[in-house]
């Protein structure tokens, strides 16, 4: 059986620095570190291996994503929703069935295969630069908890201009990737901005189960600009993917039940795959020997949700928020007292005439926004925390003891550091 592409042997090659992609936890940690744009660094050991079957090519960024199922953890304080949450099939300390992507760039095939059943949410953040060619090899590892579901998967780059169906990832108008097979998607991004990607196979189910991530494109002129415009320069950037989970739908998928998606009613609202207060926990990393994500002490339930939403900056730094919404609802986020300048919308640079300045932003399903704000000066009295939250007070789950209304909702913080 021919599972490999015929473009060459699976020869380990050393990637150039610019070819390297920073995925998932490592990326976010670099972002939040402050003092500059997202650094082109990587988790140790991630370089040196190509996606299966591909060879190194100049000016080509080559990545490997696997798709599979797995388990995530909602906030420890979240009340029980009988029988849906916590899911009794979940391995402790996890509680919610998911489908998702994983970054398996640089891993050998047996290690990649060992990641079946270990999906993550939100999907790895993908970064590219205008003028670069991006190859993303998608490997379908199947669903360990649902071997009866023989779904294929795809990668749809949401917002990619002048797409051709072959690389658009809509199974009905194109091809999709069966279990045990690979397919390499090729993209040549020509326009900077914040985009997103998701699986389009059985789209309503696969998207809400967690197969959603951010992909952003830097302008060729300057990697510290959001667009080809010095007014969009930033010091710190934070991608934030907004989604929601109807936990009954997740339980149904784990327990071989079907869902009527027109009854969709979310229970938790997520930033980067986590609900508050987990949004503030640090980012996780991949162990490049085992290929697995590493659990963090005190946050073991977030092993497969490696992306923090905590923003760290020093006073006066320009912070770029790349916000994408792949939930099914329109959301309004607010950062009271902070001027959020909209510089981009749907990966389109906004002219000075089109920009808005507000401490609130509205983002519909499927839309993206790029906003820049200046971090307030550090205060010696210790009041250096500024919340960014969903203004709809009904979009949270509540606390087991009823004390913190934001548990299970979209809320994070800017921490101004000295």
């Amino acid at each position: 059986m021919s599972r490999e592409h015929d473009t060459g042997a699976d020869t380990p090659r050393v990637l150039s620095r610019r070819n390297f992609l920073i995925f998932g936890g490592g990326a976010i940690a670099a972002v939040a570190a402050g003092g500059g744009a997202m650094a082109a660094t990587a988790a140790p050991g991630a370089r040196g291996k190509m996606p299966p079957g591909l060879v190194d090519r100049p000016n080509v960024r080559q990545l490997a994503l696997s798709v599979t199922d797995g388990w995530a953890g909602m906030p420890r304080e979240l009340p029980v929703i009988d029988p849906y949450f916590p899911d009794t099939l979940a391995p402790a300390p996890l509680d919610t069935y998911i489908f998702g992507f994983r970054d398996v760039t640089g891993l050998d095939r047996p290690i990649v295969q060992s990641q079946a059943g270990k999906a993550q949410i939100s999907a790895p953040v993908i970064e590219a630069t205008v003028g670069e060619e991006v190859w993303i090899t998608l490997s379908n590892l199947g669903l360990l908890t649902r071997p009866d579901l023989v779904d294929s998967h795809t990668l749809h780059w949401h917002g990619f201009r002048n797409a051709i169906p072959y690389y658009d990832g809509v199974p009905e108008t194109s091809i999709s990737v069966p279990i045990g097979r690979d397919f390499t998607y090729v993209f040549r991004p020509e326009d900077a901005g914040t985009y997103m990607y998701h699986c389009h196979f059985e789209d309503v189910e696969h998207v809400t189960m967690g197969m959603t991530g951010i992909v952003f494109v830097r302008p060729a002129a300057n990697s510290a600009w959001a667009y080809d415009d010095p007014d969009t320069e930033f010091d710190v950037e934070m991608p934030i993917m907004l989604t929601e989970f109807d936990l009954a739908g997740h339980w149904n998928d784990a327990h071989i039940q079907t869902s009527d998606w027109t009854s969709y009613k979310p229970d938790v609202w997520l930033m980067n795959g986590r609900a508050y207060p987990d949004t503030l926990a640090p980012s996780g990393v991949r162990d490049d020997i085992t290929g697995d994500l590493v659990p963090q002490v005190g946050f073991e339930h977030l092993q497969y949700q490696p992306q923090t939403s905590k923003i760290r900056a020093t006073g006066g730094q320009r912070v770029l928020l790349r916000i994408a919404n792949l939930g099914f609802q329109e959301q309004t986020l607010a950062m009271p007292g902070i001027d959020l300048v909209s510089v981009g919308s749907d990966a389109r640079w906004l002219t000075p005439d089109q920009r808005t300045v507000s401490d609130t932003l509205v983002i519909g399903a499927g839309e993206s926004r790029d906003v820049i704000f200046v971090a307030p000066q550090w205060r010696p009295d210790g009041n250096n925390t500024y919340p960014l939250f969903n203004t709809d007070p009904t979009k949270y789950r509540g606390n087991l003891d009823g004390s913190d209304q934001w548990v299970g909702g979209q809320r994070t913080e800017l921490e101004v550091e000295a």
Partner: protein, 471 residues
């Protein structure tokens, strides 16, 4: 009430329409208008098979546009075999249809709309975004049921009793895309289907001078502004609505609906474009198997060829998409394949003192009761071809892929391959298909079943070829 075969409730009338669905798909594969039996359709058989389908006004007096709308009930079909009792605006003495006629008038026209009520309840027509509407000669006003001590809002505009008629009149002051809908018990009557669209065309002629003087009869402006120029051959309507079957069932059974039926209990299950749910959205205008749902939503274009000196064969004019929404929440509509340039909202250009504020969007959120006009082109930027410019990574053997029914079997525009034997291939000539859909993906379903609902296709034919019927 109109005569109707009413032996079983609509919600249980699951006529097996698979034959009709198969026909709908077959319709897609024909590049020319189908000659299906239109005798029961709400639009004439001579109507164009794709794109916005205007109902012309009656009367030949220049500057006058007259319409007669008849509010009546009828039945629509959904792709899963369900059918539903509806109320709608019919054109004059024409058959029931949903949505109502697309009224197309010119800027400055005096528009007269006579509404005849064949429903069992009072009804009305409210023209959103239109100034100076009169009803039977007096300024249109909200209507109240008065008692000695109370005044209860009955209708947002002058309404008409069953069996009666009322005449609305206004001057079409601004070009653009507008909604009309019932202002009487709108929570029920809009849900039941009393909605339609009104297009006002500008009087300014389109400048065609940069097309090398070629005859481009299909160049037109959407507004009195050169940035709104588009091709009349590629003008499309996307009217977004939703239906809760329980409401329609209750009406059919003569039930009395309470406010809680529109708040707590209200759960739409069907999400429609132009009164149809995918795959019916891609069937031709006036398809005989959708007699009460005359408007298709398939967009059909050729690639824009980038040229310093464009000619008509370069397809330099964009398509115009007119979005309208009626329902309980914003619909986030996501066209695949390229951004669309949003040039107007609610019948007004996006500009401020001459500053162009149009915006390219990959997701267009259409709010209830509002309209958006957007321009669309698609360019074959990569220009991949099997010989001169193959895709950088050769694909695996097709046996290692799952293939879709609209897939051509080739990555290349105009290319075709034989699909895996289990796939019912629907591609004709190597054309590309892209989806355009509501990104609240629960609403891109037919009662929860994926790849349905508010979803349609954008068909891109190879430029200037003969085998797609578009030489």
């Amino acid at each position: 009430m109109t005569a109707r075969n009413h032996t079983r409730p609509a919600a249980h009338r699951r006529a097996r329409r698979w034959g009709a669905v198969a026909l709908a798909i077959a319709g897609l594969t024909s590049a020319t208008a189908l000659t299906t039996n239109h005798t029961v359709s709400a639009v004439p058989p001579t109507a164009k098979s794709e794109g916005l389908l205007c109902t012309p006004p009656t009367g030949a007096t220049p500057g006058q546009a007259n319409y007669v709308l008849t509010a009546k009930e009828g039945i629509i079909n959904l792709p899963d075999g369900n059918s539903m009792l509806m109320w709608g605006y019919a054109n004059g003495n024409g058959a029931f249809q949903y949505p109502g006629p697309v009224m197309c008038v010119n800027e400055g026209d005096v528009v007269t709309v006579t509404l005849r009520n064949q429903l069992a309840v009072r009804t009305s027509a409210l023209f959103l975004g239109i100034d100076g509407v009169t009803a039977n000669g007096a300024p249109a006003q909200a209507q109240f049921d008065q008692t000695a001590t109370t005044a209860t809002l009955r209708s947002l505009t002058d309404d008409v009793a069953p069996g009666g008629s009322i005449t609305y009149k206004f001057t079409a002051g601004h070009p653009g895309t507008y909604l009309y809908e019932s202002g009487t018990d709108p929570e029920l009557q809009i849900e039941m289907g009393l909605v339609g669209s009104l297009i006002v065309y500008p009087t300014t002629p389109a400048d065609t001078s940069d097309l090398l003087g070629e005859s481009v009869g299909h160049a037109r402006l959407a507004y009195d502004d050169p940035n709104s120029r588009y091709s009349t051959e590629h003008e499309y309507m996307v009217l977004l609505t939703e239906l809760d079957p329980d409401v329609h069932y209750a009406v059919e059974e003569g039930g009395v609906l309470q406010s809680a039926d529109y708040t707590e209990a209200y759960t739409p299950r069907y999400f429609l474009i132009n009164g149809r749910s995918f795959p019916d959205t891609i069937a031709p205008n006036g398809a005989g198997w959708l007699p009460a749902q005359p408007y298709g939503a398939l967009a059909h274009v050729e690639p824009l060829q980038i040229s310093a000196t464009p000619t008509e064969s370069d397809n330099p004019l964009p398509a115009l998409i007119r979005y309208l929404a009626v329902g309980g929440e914003p619909y986030p509509f996501h066209p695949h394949s390229n951004h669309e340039k949003v040039i107007a909202k609610d019948g007004r250009l996006l500009s401020d003192g001459g500053v162009d504020l149009s915006m390219e969007k990959f997701a267009i959120t259409v709010d209830p009761g509002s309209t958006i006009d957007a321009l669309f082109t698609w360019t074959n930027v990569e220009d991949y071809s099997a010989t001169a410019n193959p895709t950088p990574v050769p694909g695996p053997d097709q046996k290692n892929l799952t293939e879709g029914e609209y897939w051509s079997g080739s990555p290349y525009l105009g290319g075709q391959g034989v699909l895996n034997p289990e796939v019912q291939a629907k591609n004709v000539c190597g054309e590309y298909y892209h989806v355009a859909h509501n990104h609240n993906l629960a609403e891109a379903t037919n009662y929860g079943a994926a790849f349905g609902g508010q979803l349609t296709l954008i068909r891109v034919d190879p430029a200037n070829t003969t085998n797609c019927g578009n030489a």
